[in-house]
């Protein structure tokens, strides 16, 4: 599991490294994701892929399961959208976005639960140096129980709020 966390962290760093040359396009935020399955405090990266195509990626851990119960519950998310306010201002970004996230934890010695969620929504950010980021998504999720090999589909949502620094 630690390997997955490290790969996620390296991914974030490598993305920062690539975009640092561009001016004020990438922000690293501390965010809180309130979701259907769990709530995740996370490190979130917002930036530009090319032209007005933007991304939002994050790595976080479930509050209840990881922090209060001591069972690691990591989540990785990646969203891609289009900044519809690119012509208005550099300070503000509003993007319809499709976001996917994967997460999972060990429920018991014999059972591992994995979650995959795919959600359309929007991402909004505002600020020049200190940036407020907010996004909300609603879509479909699937819980995979590796013990009984059952896939449980469910409706899911995520509301995220964070504050970050623009590089």
């Amino acid at each position: 599991m630690l390997k997955i966390v490290l790969i996620g962290v390296l991914f974030i760093f490598s993305t920062v490294g690539r975009t640092q040359e561009k001016k004020q396009e990438t922000s690293l935020s501390i965010a809180f994701q309130f979701g259907k399955v769990e709530s995740f405090p996370s490190l979130q990266l917002n930036g530009k892929l090319f032209k007005e195509i933007v991304y939002e990626s994050s790595i976080g851990v479930g509050v209840r399961t990881t922090i209060f119960q001591g069972r690691l519950f990591p989540q990785f998310s990646l969203g891609v959208g289009y900044n519809v306010l690119h012509a208005v201002s550099d300070k503000v970004c509003l993007s319809p976005m499709i976001s996917s996230r994967i997460s999972g934890y060990r429920l018991s010695p014999q059972t591992r639960l994995s979650y995959t969620e795919v959600m359309p929504g929007y991402s909004f950010s505002w600020g020049t140096r200190i940036r407020l980021v907010q996004s909300a998504f609603f879509g479909k999720g699937w819980e995979w129980n590796q013990n009984n090999e059952l896939l449980a589909p469910f409706w899911t949502f995520s509301v995220n709020l964070g504050i970050g620094y623009v590089f």
């Binding site: 962290v9 690293l28 399955v37 209840r64 399961t65 429920l107 013990n147 009984n148 409706w155």
Partner: protein, 268 residues
């Protein structure tokens, strides 16, 4: 700067993940209304067929408690509240409506689960032997049939269908129903508010066990009831902290709002 933030983040995770383990193998985990009455993270709503089948699919869950109510024409429906108003797209009571009317009702949740007949639940999807506690809630209606006989008929059909896999047990809190259930040899549990209440009821009825709020009973009182060969099921268990606390009290079962949270604590 980034490195510091990320290091503190990872260190926090590592510290919070290191805990000592204890053995709670003797304490069973039951889902309250299957997926919980007060569980914002539930994937399926309380007392729904989907929720029941979902919770019973966990090998680690010992079973569930569900609420049953009778319709006007004697169907046994799964529903907790007295009124349909707060949780469904309908109004009124279950006992005022016919089976046909109830079939059209759904919960006002994201999944819009249909109101379910007890007989519509596929208990064969259970992962191993499970206990299903049926909490009988009789509404404020006068029925033109014998309530006990109607429940008994449905129960015997279920017992025959799932014999050896699911053990159906009644929770009866209605004095008029306790006597006929016991007379027919059914295993009966009831809700009590204290150890003294349990002893008082045992003076009149030979019940199999009790449901009691976790803060209304001490560890020594649980031991005393076990010595009397009565099972103790603690409820009103919402947070992971309360799950941990109640597991340490060593009842026979804990009736929890979130089965997955309880399983994590049990197998920490």
């Amino acid at each position: 700067m980034y490195f510091k933030v990320v290091s503190i983040f990872i260190l926090g995770i590592v510290i919070s993940c290191s805990k000592s383990s204890q053995d709670f193998a003797d304490v069973g985990v039951l889902g309250h209304a299957a997926t919980g009455l007060f569980n914002p993270n539930q994937l399926f709503t309380q007392n729904s067929a989907e929720g029941i089948e979902y919770v019973l699919s966990f090998e680690e869950a010992s079973g569930i408690e569900v609420d049953i109510q009778l319709s006007k024409d004697g169907g046994i429906w799964l529903f907790h509240d007295e009124l349909l108003d707060d949780r469904t797209n309908a109004t009124g009571q279950i006992c005022e409506k016919s089976n046909t009317e109830l079939q059209a009702i759904n919960y006002t949740t994201l999944n819009k689960e249909k109101l379910a007949l007890l007989s519509a639940v596929d208990f064969s999807k259970a992962n191993g032997a499970k206990k299903v506690f049926l909490d009988i809630k009789v509404g404020a209606c006068d029925f033109d049939f014998d309530v006990f006989e109607r429940i008994k008929t449905s129960f015997l059909a279920l017992e025959e269908q799932y014999n050896g896999v699911i053990e159906f047990i009644f929770i009866v809190n209605n004095d008029e129903l306790i006597a006929p259930f016991l007379a027919e040899g059914f295993t009966i549990f009831t809700d009590v508010a204290s150890y003294q209440d349990a002893l008082t009821i045992l003076d009149s009825y030979n019940l199999a066990g009790f449901f009691i709020r976790h803060y209304q009973l001490s560890v020594s009182e649980i031991e005393q009831l076990k010595l009397l060969n009565k099972e103790v099921i603690l409820f009103e268990i919402r947070s992971s902290l309360t799950v941990r606390k109640t597991l340490k009290m060593k009842p026979d079962y804990i009736l929890v709002e979130d089965v997955k949270t309880a399983i994590v604590e049990k197998y920490e």
